[in-house]
């Protein structure tokens, strides 16, 4: 039976000497889906994507990308897979059109060069040298050469890292455009909001293992039950006193305290009473539902190495 999945991964492992960068992961990416692959730096995202792209050999596991083992990439397979690498600086002396035209010649049935340039929002820069473009515009050229071969599957490795908010918004629109073209998109990011905005399904990676995966909405619903109490500790109270009066362990970052609790009412009551009794003001006091960013940080935090 032919699998419907664009990517299927079972028990993937990759070791560098003693260090296990990817420690046995499983997931599937369906055709036409935008799949978000999340995790902090060093979690194994780039190692995984480079194995799927055919750049790196794996230490173990079964993988298929468009029905082919990427450990033995063929030319035909390469022409169906589009790449946007994390670190790739194109020749600054070529113009946008020259670079896209060059890459188009590598593929059996490329998209029209001008149309590709317009699709990535570079129409006004087509005669500009790549060296004269802004960071965001250069990233668009990376995307343009990634899709000019008209691939079925596109790997985007941290496409918006280092972008300002406007550039990120534009990049998101562009990625949504790829989805509308029916492409399968495999996206790595360390921004939860990016995954939330773009991905149909996500997998969250920590230290080489998947700690959560599923459709975006389900994931945020199942993980987002607790409430966060946050404030600044500015003398008058110490962390131990705070710890003794609330039901959860406070997280300390500098003078910022945050308490993730399942009993917000009681904890807040005791905390305020303590502060009132000492005559201490809890600066910047807030009570909020955890953002996806908090959930993400919580899932990816190394439990044995708290600050």
């Amino acid at each position: 039976m032919v699998s419907e999945a664009a990517i299927s991964v079972r028990g993937l492992r990759k070791s560098y000497g003693e260090h296990e960068a990817v420690a046995g992961i499983d997931f599937e990416v369906g055709s036409g889906e935008v799949f978000g692959f999340l995790g902090p730096n060093g979690a194994g995202k780039t190692t995984t994507i480079e194995i799927l792209e055919g750049y790196r050999e794996r230490s173990g596991g079964e993988i298929e990308v468009l029905g082919v083992d990427p450990g033995e990439p063929t030319r035909e397979w390469r022409s169906r897979v589009g790449l946007v690498l994390q670190e790739c600086e194109l020749d600054p002396l070529l113009t946008v059109r020259e670079a896209v035209t060059l890459f188009a010649t590598f593929y059996p049935s490329p998209r029209p060069v001008d149309q590709t340039i317009e699709l990535t929002g570079l129409a006004e820069k087509r005669e500009a040298r790549i060296g004269s473009l802004s960071g965001g515009q250069k990233r668009r050229v990376d995307v343009a050469i990634g899709i000019v071969g008209d691939p079925d599957l596109i790997f985007l490795d941290e496409p918006t890292t280092g972008f300002d908010p406007t550039a990120r918004r534009d990049a998101w629109n562009m990625i949504e455009g790829l989805k509308e073209l029916g492409k399968t998109v495999f996206l790595t990011t360390h921004y939860m909001d990016e995954a939330e905005h773009l991905a149909d399904r996500v997998a969250i990676l920590r230290e080489g293992r998947i700690v959560a995966q599923g459709p975006m909405q389900e994931l945020s619903a199942s993980l987002g039950r607790r409430t966060v109490i946050g404030f600044r500790l500015n003398g008058g109270l110490d962390v131990e006193e705070v710890r003794s009066c609330v039901s959860a362990t406070p997280q300390v970052a500098g003078d910022e305290i945050s308490i993730e609790t399942e009993q917000p009412q009681g904890d807040l009551y005791r905390l305020l009473a303590l502060a009132e009794q000492r005559g201490v003001a809890l600066e910047e006091l807030e009570v909020r539902k955890p953002s996806l960013e908090d959930i993400f940080l919580d899932l990816t935090r190394d439990q044995g190495r708290q600050p």
Partner: protein
């Protein structure tokens, strides 16, 4: 997507990039021309001056400089530019990116060699034209064919060596220091601008190890009126060919597509 089109598109891009790199153009284009004019102006004081090669062949000083500087120029156009440009492309991540396309790896290498060869031939034509027209250099008998054989063999050898050295230049800085200055320094012990018999014996022996010596002496020999036939000498041909084979051997085993600096 015939493979010929892929090669030509990449060669064309490489030529465009080379023409838009003024620093490299000054070094590889203007320097040899300036040297040719300078050496002829400084060292030739009217009348017939001749240089004697280690093999005993004599040739005019003008022919000696033209041939030596052609060898020097071929080295810069091929060895130096290939080492610098391939290392630069590798460290920028361009080679890794290219490997992720259906482009066959050999088409990239062939395209780079085509660009270097075009540059080496254009420079040779210019230098020979100046030598013949401005300084009266003469090609005796069928020596022109021998000269071309050395140009072709030297170009091939120095192209392979320019590619073969890139595994040993981990950064662009390393490549753009080692690749040009090794040629400049070797030129002093290869009879490019100082006749080899004016050097101490041990320096001559050092020069004799490297291909630039054999390319320079080879080209110079063909221009001697005493040279027989095509003016080819088996020793020079053998050493150049040996270096070419060594270059192919190293390049096919050690060539890297991924950036060497940083972790990647």
């Amino acid at each position: 997507m015939s493979e010929r089109r892929i090669v030509l598109a990449q060669a064309r891009a490489a030529i465009v990039v080379a023409l838009r790199t003024p620093r490299a153009l000054v070094f590889t284009f203007f320097f040899p021309l300036i040297f040719l004019v300078l050496f002829n102006s400084i060292f030739i004081k009217g009348g017939d001056q001749s240089v004697t090669l280690p093999t005993g062949l004599k040739l005019s000083a003008q022919a000696y400089f033209m041939a030596g500087i052609t060898a020097y120029s071929i080295s810069l156009s091929t060895f130096t530019t290939l080492a610098v440009s391939i290392t630069t492309q590798r460290e920028r991540g361009q080679l890794k990116r290219l490997r992720g396309t259906p482009m066959p790896a050999w088409t990239f290498i062939v395209a780079q060699i085509l660009r270097a060869t075009a540059q080496a031939l254009a420079m040779t034509v210019l230098l020979v034209a100046i030598g013949v027209l401005a300084y009266g250099v003469d090609f005796p008998g069928s020596s022109f064919i021998g000269f071309l054989v050395y140009v072709a063999l030297g170009t091939a050898t120095l192209c392979t060596l320019g590619i073969a050295i890139t595994p040993f230049t981990p950064t662009v800085d390393a490549a753009s220091t080692i690749a040009p200055f090794s040629v400049v320094i070797l030129a002093f012990v290869s009879g490019v601008w100082i006749p080899i018999d004016q050097l101490p014996h041990w320096l001559q022996e050092v020069g004799r190890i490297f291909p630039l010596y054999h390319l320079a002496i080879g080209l110079q020999s063909t221009l001697s009126p005493q040279a027989s036939g095509l003016g080819l000498e088996g020793g020079n041909i053998a050493v150049l060919a040996a270096w070419a084979l060594a270059g192919v051997w190293v390049a096919t085993r050690r060539f890297r597509w991924e950036p060497q600096a940083g972790t990647g």
